[in-house]
């Protein structure tokens, strides 16, 4: 009987958690539409949203929403990618940024963009994602090679951060060689921003990110098994080799897609999964995967709101805002681990 009450308690907590996230998401979408250089009233927002011929339609759809939708999609993708990487490496502070994966994607992307733009060829969305994915996989390859040598979680992260620095340095170097006209655009992007995304990009982005999210959700059963360790997962009937490949590819695609459109965004991948585990008091992937998607969206909308409004009309890079809120969470996780004496 004790079991029953425990479970009802969990179910209520889960429902409350999702309700909270959904409310926060709706509220933030609203704030993001209203806030900006042109302040809108509530009725103007509804006009803009639902009456295409209205004078506010342009600003709501083509200035505000075109930035909100990618923030939602990419925020969710980042957080989910972080969760998958944390599962894979059994390391609570693994994430696309801390493992140098975002920076690897950034490097290959910069090279590709400069190569194309200097010839006067525009780079399509698919091309962006492909180049970014190649870079992400290169970094991932390095991290994997290192992870076979070192078992300590802190060592792995240090190596990841180093890879990140090397890639960023090379990217800076490459950008120096770019044409003047490209520099500004590249530089903005290399700092991380949702500003330069267009509706065509959003369509491609959604076509990649949403199926990857669904695929990850359907992996929640083996992910749950894998959380107990490889040996037990295998005994439960998980094909470990296939499963590991799936995790790598999915987390790679998700973080590559983010980098391709918004540049490297720091700490979302580590902070959000951790906050979600605290909020829902569980690590069950069937709860945490949707929670990460929602939570990542909320986190990124919140940070983007601050990035746009804090020093308006000047805009902050999204990455510096996420770092301010995300990095303390990472420090907290590490300290708590230290206290528990785990590894």
């Amino acid at each position: 009987m004790k079991q029953g009450t425990g479970e009802r308690h969990t179910a209520r907590r889960t429902a409350l958690g999702f309700a909270l996230l959904a409310l926060a998401l709706i509220a933030l979408i609203f704030c993001n539409i209203i806030a900006g250089s042109t302040k809108l009233t509530v009725s103007e927002v509804f006009d803009g949203l639902f009456r295409p011929q209205s004078e506010f339609s342009a600003i709501v759809l083509h200035v505000r929403m075109v930035r909100i939708v990618p923030a939602i999609l990419l925020g969710g993708a980042l957080a989910l990618s972080g969760f998958l990487l944390q599962t894979f490496f059994a390391n609570p502070i693994a994430g696309p940024f801390t493992l140098g994966i975002s920076s690897g994607a950034k490097l290959v992307l910069s090279v590709t963009m400069i190569a194309f733009l200097s010839r006067g060829v525009a780079v399509g969305s698919v091309m962006l994602i492909a180049a970014s994915f190649v870079g992400a996989m290169l970094s991932m390859g390095f991290v994997l090679a290192i992870s076979y040598k070192v078992r300590r979680m802190s060592m792995l992260i240090i190596c990841g951060v180093m890879i990140g620095y090397i890639c960023s340095a090379v990217t800076e170097f490459v950008i120096r060689f770019a044409d003047d006209s490209n520099i500004v655009k590249l530089h903005d992007w290399a700092m991380g921003s949702f500003a330069s995304i267009k509706w065509e990009n959003v369509a491609v982005m959604a076509a990649v990110v949403i199926p990857a999210m669904i695929a990850a959700f359907f992996l929640s059963k083996p992910i749950g098994a894998y959380q107990l360790g490889e040996v037990y997962a295998e005994n439960m009937g998980v094909n470990i080799r296939l499963f590991r490949i799936a995790l790598i590819l999915l987390s790679g695609v998700l973080s590559a897609c983010v980098t391709a459109f918004a540049g490297p965004i720091s700490f979302v991948g580590v902070a959000v999964p951790h906050l979600m585990r605290r909020l829902f008091r569980t690590a069950k992937p069937i709860v945490i995967i949707p929670a990460c998607i929602l939570g990542g969206a909320v986190f990124c909308l919140f940070c983007d709101l601050i990035a746009r409004t804090a020093f308006a009309p000047n805009e902050l890079s999204i990455s510096s805002v996420t770092a301010v809120f995300g990095a303390p969470v990472v420090i907290f996780v590490m300290l708590r681990r230290q206290k528990e004496g785990a590894r």
């Binding site: 609570p92 059963k221 959380q227 360790g229 439960m236 009937g237």
Partner: protein
């Protein structure tokens, strides 16, 4: 030859990185039977178990599970037949004990792993089997090693396997929990006719719980058989390469090496009364002589292991005059005597005479006081 085995190895060679450690292993276990692997540290017990559950790649040979080559079976199929309890510490962040046990239902649930009512009942049953109901709701990371091991066993039980493989399940447990765990295993084997393969460090427990024992040493399966065959004579001593001290196969007890040298005290013992004094003398580092004991006496095996000199007569024999005379002589030479016997009868009448002679000669001392003063 082994159609009755539920899981067996045929000419299996195991090792790491392509280097064979143990070659041509042929072992197997039937349903309703416990097969125990014993052997020194590093002999390869875990390697064999890990190879049998496909955690390590076989270097040669096959593992046959329920009549089929395991290498050709799907993970899910195996999962419904074979469960494990390994030594790896499992990571179970934010999972309750119940959740961990419920993970055993994995091979039976649907794509999203949602537990049905029936699954829940089975998990509850498994928790009950290992007497873990009291702490089922607690976080897995907050319970003791003994409780954790029970939950892992519950997990294996919830998997409803035909065979359970356990790698040193008793290693971190205290004596109470060791007994409990093995008792649960015994019950499982008796009632559900599962097959069990387990590696154990505790020889005394291995002897009592196993139906058959496989001894791993010197890079091979050194011996295989019923406990009676394995735990006889000096085999265990040679299996573990024991050079200092001894192992009593009958009682499953170990003794440290005897203190050698000229005996400083003669202990008249018998009927088990001598054992505590022998051990106390051994601890204090005082060489002693013991007598006179028939080989059937309870004190005899310990005296044999610990005494510098031992006066004994054949099993169930009365003490003959010649032995009595030699013992009396030695007693006088040593000059200090402890008598631990309080009841004398027909067979140890000679010991009574020895004790009386010692008392009359003023040689008799109190054991505790004697050892307390360092044996002088």
């Amino acid at each position: 030859m082994n159609d009755t085995y539920y899981i067996s190895t045929e000419q299996m060679t195991v090792g790491y990185d392509g280097k064979p450690l143990i070659e041509h292993i042929d072992i197997g276990v039937r349903r309703g039977e416990i097969l125990t692997l014993i052997g020194p540290n590093g002999s390869g017990k875990s390697t064999i178990l890990k190879s049998m559950i496909r955690q390590l790649r076989l270097l040669a040979g096959t593992v046959v599970l329920d009549g089929r080559d395991m290498a050709a079976m799907k993970e899910r199929e195996i999962a419904k037949k074979l469960a494990i309890v390994m030594t790896e510490r499992i990571r179970a962040e934010l999972m309750s004990c119940w959740d961990v046990a419920a993970s055993g239902r994995y091979p039976y649930t649907g794509r999203l792993g949602i537990l049905s009512k029936e699954d829940r009942a089975i998990v509850d049953g498994a928790i009950e089997t290992v007497h873990a109901k009291d702490f089922a709701d607690r976080p897995f990371s907050a319970i003791s090693d003994g409780q954790r091991q029970r939950i892992l066993l519950a997990r294996a039980i919830a998997q409803q396997p035909e065979v359970i493989v356990l790698d040193e399940p008793t290693s971190f447990l205290d004596i109470k929990h060791k007994l409990e765990l093995l008792d649960i295993l015994k019950t499982m084997v008796r009632e559900r006719r599962v097959a069990v393969i387990v590696s154990l460090h505790e020889l005394d427990l291995a002897e009592k719980v196993s139906d058959r024992i496989v001894c791993i040493a010197h890079n091979r399966v050194d011996r295989c058989g019923a406990p009676e065959e394995i735990f006889s004579g000096d085999y265990i001593k040679s299996l573990y390469g024991i050079e200092s001290g001894s192992y009593n196969a009958l009682f499953g007890s170990i003794e440290l090496p005897a203190v050698t040298g000229t005996p400083r005290v003669f202990v008249i013992g018998g009927g088990g009364s001598g054992v505590p004094v022998y051990r106390a003398l051994q601890r204090a580092g005082i060489p002693f002589a013991a007598g006179v004991l028939p080989e059937s006496d309870l004190d005899f095996p310990v005296a044999q292991a610990l005494a510098a000199e031992l006066f004994s007569v054949p099993a169930f024999a009365a003490i003959d005059p010649e032995t009595e005379r030699r013992a009396a002589e030695r007693m006088r030479e040593i000059g200090t005597v402890v008598c631990t016997v309080s009841a004398f009868g027909e067979t140890n009448a000679a010991n009574q005479r020895l004790a009386k002679a010692a008392g009359d000669g003023g040689l008799l001392v109190d054991a505790e006081a004697f050892i307390g003063e360092g044996g002088v």
